[in-house]
């Protein structure tokens, strides 16, 4: 297990190296001269002399590999440059906002699990019955309703008309409910269907029949024997969907004026704030890789076949 972890962490090095090259390439491939953009955004007339001077100062006249080396050294020191717009260090901007995004994402995942696991199991147990049809319609709705529309609808109904939840902003738990539901809704529906299919497959297995023949209680058979096996494909898919959640967070944060990185990132795109875009891309890549690692570890805990076979191999 330990060796497996070390191996996985070791694999992170080439992945992160590749990611750093791509994100660095962003700034070089982007249209427009960064020096010119900086001057414009600070209200200085970008004359030829001023631009040249700034290019020299920023080291933009050096060969690309030297620029990359310099940038990479800075990244290793957690220095992602400074935002053109705010003038503050990008790392600081991201780190100060990320907890809000993480809070939102975790709440959405919690909502998703809370809804999708019971409804997936119920739909599988009552196949082709009312519950199953209901979950199918909901899955269709969840997959086709855009997040911004659902978010606005929820705000209108629960905040404006009923006044149960606040309209926007970050604060206590009540602030979290609507954004989390908006973010997790579509995924909860998808996951309920995924778990249903997976449960149906597992419930047809011989070991379930044998478990029944052993006289085990139905609750134990469904909740333990079947569920643990049925969760395996769901966990795999989850690792991939995490990106959708973070991506979706951008929209949800904008609707609910949630002070997370997503909203900050959208603002950066509108303002062509390249260091922020670059820093955000790099940061998200790191988050992604870590989440995938965590999912793999969870998988290893769920499935002894992987845990023990890999252990033997290493």
């Amino acid at each position: 297990m330990k060796q497996y972890l070390i191996k996985r962490l070791f694999y992170l090095i080439p992945v992160m190296f590749g990611v750093s090259i791509i994100t660095f390439g962003l700034i070089n491939l982007a249209p427009g001269d960064p020096a010119e953009i900086i001057l414009r955004s600070s209200g200085v007339e970008p004359t030829l002399e001023a631009v040249d001077a700034l290019r020299e100062e920023l080291g933009l006249n050096d060969p690309v590999y030297i620029q990359y080396g310099r940038w990479f050294r800075d990244v290793l020191h957690l220095d992602l440059g400074q935002s053109y717009r705010t003038g503050r260090p990008v790392a600081e901007e991201i780190f100060s906002r990320f907890p809000a995004t993480l809070e939102l994402t975790v709440a959405a995942i919690f909502f998703m699990l809370l809804i999708s696991i019971p409804s997936g199991i119920l739909a599988a147990l009552h196949r082709h019955a009312f519950v199953d049809h209901l979950s199918r319609i909901w899955a269709l709705a969840g997959a086709s309703l855009p997040g911004f529309w659902l978010g606005l609808l929820l705000i209108y109904y629960f905040s404006v008309k009923l006044g149960i939840f606040p309209v926007m902003g970050r604060g206590g738990l009540d602030h979290l409910v609507l954004p989390a539901v908006t973010l997790g809704f579509g995924m909860a529906a998808t996951y309920a269907r995924l778990l249903r299919a997976s449960m149906l497959e597992v419930l047809g297995q011989d070991y379930i029949k044998v478990a029944r023949a052993r006289g085990l209680k139905e609750k134990l058979i469904v909740g333990r024997h079947a569920l643990k096996n049925a969760l395996l494909p769901v966990v795999t898919a989850f690792g991939m969907s995490f990106g959708h959640l973070l991506g979706g967070a951008v929209i949800v944060e904008t609707i609910f004026a949630w002070p997370g990185v997503g909203k900050f990132f959208v603002d950066a795109i509108f303002n062509r704030d390249y260091p922020v875009i670059q820093g955000y891309a790099l940061f998200m890549a790191v988050v992604f890789v870590i989440v995938n690692l965590l999912v793999d570890i969870a998988y290893v805990f769920l499935d002894p076949r992987i845990r023990l076979e890999r252990g033997r191999q290493v």
Binding site: Q205, D206, Y207, K209, V210, A211, R212, A213, R214, G215, L216, K217, E218, L220, H225, K228, N229, L302, D303, P304, R305, L308
Partner: protein
């Protein structure tokens, strides 16, 4: 011996038997029609004795076993019949009562040990949860009992085995675990559904030998479901030959092997390849089994029967006792005198 004239309630059933099945019918209601998987099956199981149910795939052997355990899922349904375990009609029990009985009074060893155990739980967990369920013991006590059970089926290092996952064991080891699980509660009836089919030939022999010992020790009545006549010869005391959802021949194992009366039983016995004979051609039973959806109102084996005649169309032949302890469902055999039947000219 079986008295097939007994078709009534519990009071008429011999006290010597543990399990009495009378006229069991299990149908599957599919879109194509009603599949009569088990169609009027009756048999008895006695303590310490083994009844083998033999037949081709699709003859209703496994459905019979699952019906006994109350494990028929929709669209399947037990349509009629009686199943008495120690005089108690199982078909009158609630789901919960049936569940308590499964694994305790009636245990099952399933055909494929590779798929019979849950892959994500250790052997120990799977044994102890059964113990917790039926005996209410858990923790260290259950663990000790689990180790004891594995020892009983001849598994070396049981204290290591309980920590293993199914995929870490060989086929033979897994089937031993399944047998240990099945026998752990000292069941009254053990149903073994093709217990050795998925195993290597050498392991098969070992497992059969061990099963015979264990069955003898625990005095359970055994229903052995198989298509392997070698296994039947090894383990069975009585044999029921099933064809198209019905028993076509029923009798003592020696009677069945030495004096098979039904043409289907004869064909089955002939199909076994023998070593040391010049006859090198395999002799399969000709033709295909009939569709169970629209069974004809005559002998179901007729299209494949070598001896079929006009009289065979006169309705479904009843299972009739020809000589004491040997029953057969064949118009020709029933019509003929018993002396003529025992003549070997047809064999």
């Amino acid at each position: 011996m079986v008295d097939l004239s007994q078709t009534g309630g519990a009071d008429t059933i011999s006290s010597k038997t543990i399990l009495n099945v009378r006229n069991l019918c299990t149908y599957f209601y599919t879109r194509q029609g009603v599949v009569k998987a088990v169609n009027g099956v009756s048999f008895d199981v006695k303590p310490g004795r083994t009844l083998a149910i033999v037949g081709e795939s699709g003859s209703g052997k496994t459905v019979t076993a699952l019906s006994l355990l109350g494990l028929i899922d929709p669209p399947g349904k037990i349509v009629s019949g009686e199943i008495y375990l120690d005089g108690r009609n199982l078909l009158g029990l609630s789901r919960e009562e049936l569940r308590r009985l499964r694994g305790k009074d009636m245990a099952l060893v399933f055909q494929d040990p590779m798929t019979s155990l849950n892959p994500v739980f250790t052997i120990g967990t799977q044994i102890t949860e059964t113990l917790t369920c039926h005996m209410g013991i858990a923790g260290a006590e259950a663990k000790i009992k689990a180790i004891e059970m594995l020892k009983r089926v001849g598994l070396p290092h049981p204290e290591k085995i309980i920590k293993r996952y199914p995929f870490q064991l060989s086929g033979g080891q897994r089937q031993r675990v399944m047998i240990a699980l099945a026998l752990s509660m000292n069941p009254r009836v053990l149903i073994a559904d093709e217990p050795t089919t998925a195993l290597d030939v050498t392991v098969q022999a070992q497992i059969l030998y061990e099963m015979r010992q264990l069955i003898k020790d625990c005095r359970a009545g055994v229903i052995l479901i198989t298509h392997d006549l070698g296994v039947v010869a090894e383990l069975a005391d009585e044999v029921a030959v099933m064809y198209a959802g019905s028993i076509v021949e029923y009798g003592d194992v020696y009677e069945i092997f030495d004096n098979p009366l039904h043409p289907y039983t004869r064909a089955l016995l002939k199909s076994i390849p023998r070593l040391g004979t010049k006859d090198e051609v395999l002799r399969p039973v000709q033709g295909q089994p009939p569709s169970l959806i629209d069974l004809p109102g005559r002998c179901a084996f007729l299209p494949r029967c070598e001896h079929g005649a006009g009289g065979c169309r006169a309705g479904v032949p009843p299972l009739e006792e020809i000589i004491p302890g040997h029953a057969v469902a064949c118009h020709r055999v029933i019509a003929a005198k018993p002396e003529e039947v025992t003549l070997r000219e047809l064999a």
